[in-house]
């Protein structure tokens, strides 16, 4: 009995080693071979969430592994970034990032640090705008600024969070145009739009895409957009630069992986996202969500990502005073 046991045990062990040997010999495993999780730091239903879910759906079929979006709402993205900082840098966990990750680095005094992430690609960038009600007396950004200068503190500008990118944008307008607003924080861009429709505030700062429902009523007027060029969805609206105010800012949205994720895996993910974005279904989704098709691959995104700090942090620091 003992002999039988040891002979067959030996065979069994040999088979097991033999079966796993190829994997060891392979060295690097094929990536991806299990579920990829995209963490998203807000609740479901917003523009970015819908975009990610649409892309994840396409990528699943492409990469032949499940790609899931997990919502981890908390602190305006902070929870999701905190979780990614402690995740394994193996490419299976990535996170949605936007300008906020840089802003939060300053606000959390480094507990969340944008330098702890490796940018993968930028999905989209969009300019912000100053929007007013059509029944208001200002038809150009110039008239609006004049009024604001004559009435410091009287103009109420809505944003979707103090210290978040749209607030920073409004503060930049103040600085460059020499005016003073009263900033009214709301919880989401759509709330700003509703408040503006009801004429409870004079203007809003978020990007038009976040207020699409209110825009569709036709009762809102964009005065100027904050990009280098005119916004493709609003070709009749001048930029700040064209109107004589030296301001260019955009909100950008992308995905990133923990620092230390192997470069090849980042490249695989980047290409998978790019392929997914090119699908007709994704293009349609972009149009419907009013997002421009201006994604950037890793190299260019890195410039935007790391360059954000120089732009935004001085403004945040000035805010604290």
């Amino acid at each position: 009995m003992k002999r039988f046991f040891s002979k067959w045990t030996a065979v069994g062990v040999a088979l097991v080693i033999g079966a796993t040997l190829p994997a060891h010999l392979w060295g690097q495993e094929k990536f991806p071979k299990e579920t990829i999780t995209i963490l998203f730091g807000w609740g479901t239903g917003g523009t970015a969430d819908l975009l990610l879910r649409g892309l994840a759906d396409v990528m699943q079929k492409d990469l032949k592994v499940p790609v899931v979006v997990e919502n981890k709402p908390g602190g305006g993205g902070v929870l999701s970034w905190g979780l990614l900082q402690s995740a394994k840098a193996d490419g299976y966990t990535i996170v949605y990032v936007s300008n906020s990750v840089v802003l939060e680095t300053y606000k959390t005094k480094g507990k969340i640090d944008y330098k702890n992430f490796e940018p993968i690609l930028m999905l989209n960038s969009a300019p912000m705008a100053i929007t007013v009600h059509v029944e208001s007396p200002w038809k150009t950004i110039g008239e609006f600024i004049e009024y604001a200068r004559a009435n410091p503190g009287k103009v109420r500008v809505g944003n979707s969070g103090m210290g978040a990118i749209f607030h920073i944008f409004a503060l930049s307008v103040e600085k460059k145009a020499g005016v003073k607003f009263t900033h009214v924080p709301f919880k989401a861009g759509s709330e700003c739009g509703t408040a503006l429709l009801g004429k409870h505030i004079e203007a809003t700062a978020p990007n038009p895409g976040d207020m699409s429902a209110s825009l569709a009523t036709g009762k809102l007027r964009l005065l100027a957009t904050s990009g280098d060029k005119r916004d493709a969805f609003f070709p009749d609206v001048p930029t700040f630069k064209e109107s004589g105010i030296d301001l260019a800012m955009e909100i950008w949205r992308g995905v990133a992986a923990p620092k230390g994720t192997p470069v090849e895996r980042i490249s695989i993910l980047e290409k998978a996202f790019m392929r997914a974005m090119e699908q007709p279904r994704s293009q349609e989704l972009l149009k419907k969500l009013m997002l421009a098709n201006n994604s950037l691959p890793t190299a260019e995104f890195r410039k935007v990502y790391y360059g954000e700090a120089e732009k935004a942090i001085p403004i945040l620091m000035a805010l604290e005073k």
Partner: protein, 499 residues
Amino acid sequence: MLDSLSGLLFGFKITFQPENLFFCFAGCFVGTLIGVLPGIGPSGALAILLPATFYLSPSTAVIMLAGIYYGAMYGGSTTSILINIPGEAASVVTCLDGYQMARQGRAGPALGIAAIGSFIAGTSGVIGLMFLAPPLANFALKFSSPEYAAIIICGLILVSYLGSGSILKAFIMGALGLLLGTIGSDPIDRLDRFTFGSFYLLEGLGLIPIIMGLFGISEILINLEEEEFRGILQEKIKNLFPNVRDWIASTWPILRGTLIGFFVGIIPGGNTIISATMSYAVEKRVSKHPEKFGTGAIEGVAGPESANNSSITGSFIPLLSLGIPTNAVMALLLASLMIHGVSPGPLLISQHPEIFWSVIASMYIGNLMLLALNLPLIGLWVKLLKVPYAYLFPFIFLFCLLGTYSLRNTVFDIGVMILFGLVGYLMRKFAYEPAPFILAFILGPMFEEHFRRSLIMSYGSFTVFFVRPISLVFMLAAILLLLSSLVPWMKRKKGAFDP
């Protein structure tokens, strides 16, 4: 008027197509399941199912999503009545009397009245929606933070009505709710309060884990103290359907609940729990035997259940006619419409009449389907109560765990749930009630947000609440509510001085 009727017929024609009928039913069915399973509420489910609707036509997609929303409401009441676990926030109020009725063998009538009240409220709401949509939507735009702050003050005053025991204890629970509601990022400046550096507390203690703990886990713990091997229901099941007395008692509550819910639902931010609470408070106030509330008064089920259903229909009004979502679920519906290239707004009715009217028609049909789904199942549900608790409670516990984990995929929330389960157990031992705590916990942060924002918008002036007509009305209502509770007290005092 004639326009509306012809539109409705047009809507029915579309809805009766087999594909739409199927998805209406699918939505109702899935929604009911989601409502019965505590934790993942309608918004979570809608978000997950949203990509599936990409392949459907816009009307079909909205029909299905609306069905899910309704179904979840209907389903939420089932678990509240049977096992004292609210299927979602608004059902908390149904637990108060519904569960007591179940313990007395009257689960059938409770479930029946809840289903029928919801049906009547839902259908009436749809009729209201049909005729009142455009004018009411414009009215909704006049509401902003000052008005919401005033409404919430009324809501907070109603907290005391939710307790059936000592008023002092209800206030203590309310204060605790306000205190714990401050945990998290503050709504205006986004500074962290009481988070102790934890990322998970940035949004505050989760509402669902707390509800599951305070109501569900504590109930399990209390029941486990019993040494007998029995089911939740010891007495005989009295009857499966409401008797004549129940009907008579419920008529007015259902009517009042429908009206309250509908109008509260139209107001942006007016959500189902506020409607249900207001209805409960109103019923208690006008009842000839208010002390019965909390021990199984059917009015306490009929009113709130109708209110939370009609508030759903009410909340469709700003969405369909102005494109303004008044709560998270409506925002998702809005997103799904936009994905299909439909921008809701004043132009919706003229540009896409098929969507508007088919949604309305499907609401009628959906309500009918839900009634048909829920009523026959009552017999089945009631049998569940007879199952010995020792076999039942592991499943209940599993439900709670799954539901809580499904929110954020973190164990932290489960920890919160268990902690509040223990707290809830102690609370029951010392006769403190959870309902005032929950209401204050929800309303406190909302009040702070709107109150502070109102002050920013008014450049610091406190008169903002009294200068704006709508908020003035609600402030006066709040003052009247306060005074009206003083009157009986003063009467008693006077009586004490009589020789």
